[in-house]
Symmetry: C2
Subunit: 415 residues, 2 copies
């Protein structure tokens, strides 16, 4: 039996224990883990220094290096993330419906943990703590496979958490880290159907695509966001401009930032140059089609490739459309079905956009940057699903559960 099979087997066995834990016990364990991350933070920082030295030696730079870097403040923030979970409602055990059938069978549908969750992610040690906390609160065992650049930090974090679990009387295998950093173990994890109930990739589109294509375990696809704002012929341009600027520049590297603006021809004269100026002032490279550039002469020429591109950077492309229908078709054909917004004062345009755009989150007169668990009021988030099965949009604790039917009989047989 391979190491990964053993990890899977232990996770499955532990999941039965976790599924029976009371909310009180889970919350106490979250508190103990948070406390221990703080009291043992020097162990984490020491391990993190090893990762940082190796990363620098390998030429890792920029945001990847930044995400890998831990300090006392970031460890405190991870610990606080665990403490915040304590106040959230435990979804496990909720009975969604309970009905009596004509034959007196009473059939209820009850929320239960998924069982064993696998998370594959990049070199972000905060996801290690986050994944543990979300899964423990929902009674799931979790197997983590983090980016190899963070391996020492992850090992230290998981050691500390497992020690805290033992102190709480909870099996340490509630969270397991795959310590092997080769691709082979990732491949094996994606085939671990016997033990894994779901696999969640968290990271860039390359990682997500690889998991979707190779996993035989059910996957929740998260993430990629080729998002749009459409400025309708009935738009209030004074609302449109701050929304476009916010959706592009408030944090350009995240999935719910916009990459494209569609402007109805009727509003082009009124808005094009102003939008160009507002974005340029924020350091955004503005690319536009011919009609847009007739007003914003300094804009770069946009090509067909632009409409498909998720820049995740200070770049935007702007297209002119002649009708509402053209805007909807363009978005449905080019978006990654994440978040889109219409700017309009027209009732029918607003309602039709909400109906006809095939994305996880569809907005009227607001920035797409609101698509996340905390802004939606979920308190915590495991990712943003861009698929339609199981969960769509920001996923909170409920999305880490399944249901089972519980049936109370008194001797019923089927005729």
């Amino acid at each position: 039996m391979s190491t990964l099979n053993e990890i899977g087997k232990r996770a499955k066995e532990t999941s039965f224990v976790l599924g029976k834990l009371s909310t009180t016990d889970k919350n106490a364990a979250l508190k103990k883990a948070a406390d221990k991350l703080i009291s043992e933070s020097e162990r984490i920082l020491e391990a993190n220094r090893l990762d940082l030295e190796a990363a620098e030696a390998n030429g890792v730079k920029g945001s990847l290096l930044d995400r890998l870097t831990l300090d006392n403040e970031r460890i405190e923030s991870m610990a606080n993330g665990l403490l915040e979970l304590i106040n959230l409602e435990d979804p496990v055990g909720e009975v969604l419906s309970m009905k009596k059938r004509p034959n007196d069978l009473v059939i209820g549908q009850k929320r239960v943990p998924l069982g064993v969750v696998g998370i594959i992610y990049e070199a972000r040690p905060n996801v290690t703590v986050d994944g543990f906390g979300l899964c423990l609160k929902t009674g799931n065992a979790v197997i983590l496979k983090g980016g190899k650049e963070a391996i020492n930090s992850n090992i230290a974090i998981i050691d500390i958490i497992q020690e805290s679990l033992e102190e709480s009387g909870i099996p340490r295998d509630a969270v397991q880290l795959i310590k092997s950093t080769d691709r082979q173990s990732t491949t094996e994890l994606m085939k671990l159907t016997e033990y894994l109930d779901v696999l969640i990739p968290r990271g860039g589109s390359g990682l997500i695509k690889a998991v979707v294509e190779n996993s035989t375990v059910p996957v929740i696809e998260t993430g990629a966001g080729n998002c749009h704002v459409y400025i309708d012929s009935h738009a209030d341009v004074s609302k449109a401009i701050p929304i476009v600027v916010n959706a592009k520049t408030q944090r350009p590297g995240v999935c719910n930032a916009i990459e494209h603006v569609l402007i109805h021809n009727d509003k082009l004269e009124e808005s094009a140059l102003e939008i160009y100026k507002a974005l340029s002032e924020k350091g955004v490279e503005v690319r536009g089609d011919e009609r847009f550039r007739a007003y914003a002469k300094d804009a770069v020429e946009a090509t067909e490739d632009d409409w498909k591109t998720e820049y995740l950077d200070y770049i935007i492309s702007i297209k002119t459309v002649d009708s509402f229908d053209e805007a909807v078709s363009h978005i449905n054909a080019h978006s990654t079905k994440h978040s889109e917004s219409i700017i309009t004062e027209d009732y029918s345009s607003a309602q039709r956009f909400l109906d006809e755009i095939d994305s996880a989150a569809v907005y009227v007169n607001a920035s797409t940057r609101f698509t996340d668990g905390s802004e939606f009021g979920f308190g915590a988030e495991i990712g943003i699903s861009t698929q339609k099965l199981h969960a769509r949009g920001p996923m909170g604790l409920k999305e880490l559960t399944s249901t089972k039917y519980i049936i109370y009989g008194n001797g019923q047989i089927r005729g």
Copy 2:
């Protein structure tokens, strides 16, 4: 572009039209399709004769031949299935929640169609009609790939349904049949991630396994049922026997029939011989472990392989356990997580069984044969999910939908 890509593209385009249809229009189309299946039944029977001739020439026999065979009564029953859908509530458009956030954004979660559903199934023409009806009612486009033995029947049925859709003013591509009967087209369908939102295999465990292992499209795993009844130390044996007999023999070839009985040692003397006799009288081959055979001396010796086997036949295997915990561990280790039942008069045993058994439907004092959509009151069923993502247990109309977030703003930007 391959034929299958074209089919996928047309299905996706059509799905946007279907998603906007009113319930009234969908119901009218179901009525017209049902009527036309009856009025054009001779075309179906003629095509079916071709299939039956080919099947007989190829030596197809028994239940496979029976399922392939159509007559006026069976066509009427398929048409009635469509009419019954008319009376069911349309899940599309339901708003599951709508909340105002502190920044005045109003965030709602609305039920929407999945989009494009693929169904891969065996030579059962009734699934062709069923799949069409369930998907139309839920606003989904559907691509069907049926068993090759039924190809002529399926072509005739789909031609008639597509004609009825045209008469109803609905695009005929709402339902498309893959007419190629080779495996290549099945393989292509399983990779059609660009257009398919979900793939549902309906059939035996070989088909389901092949789809789960090869599909890159999200799959809902249905079906296989290695189901158990556990006779607890506190069982009322007078309830246990009819339940065991019903769960095994009322229809042995279906997934919710039981394959195994576990008997607590304390109840063995009271129940073993009686159970053996009751099952034998119904023509069931009873296999038992040593302790069971001490009472039922004519029973066949059960081997380790028996506990893993879904017989789907008049065979059962019976094992003695020494404790409640042993029963639960055995079931969780050997079941396919479909349906299991405990026979007990003890409150704690009942509650613990409902909690600890990791199956889609868990019963107290009732036959497992109730696990299906009509018995659960759903009115229609697309299959029984044995996975934990998206849907678990019998799947009705709601399980053919997804959700989207709709957000009403008035200029909100993120700070």
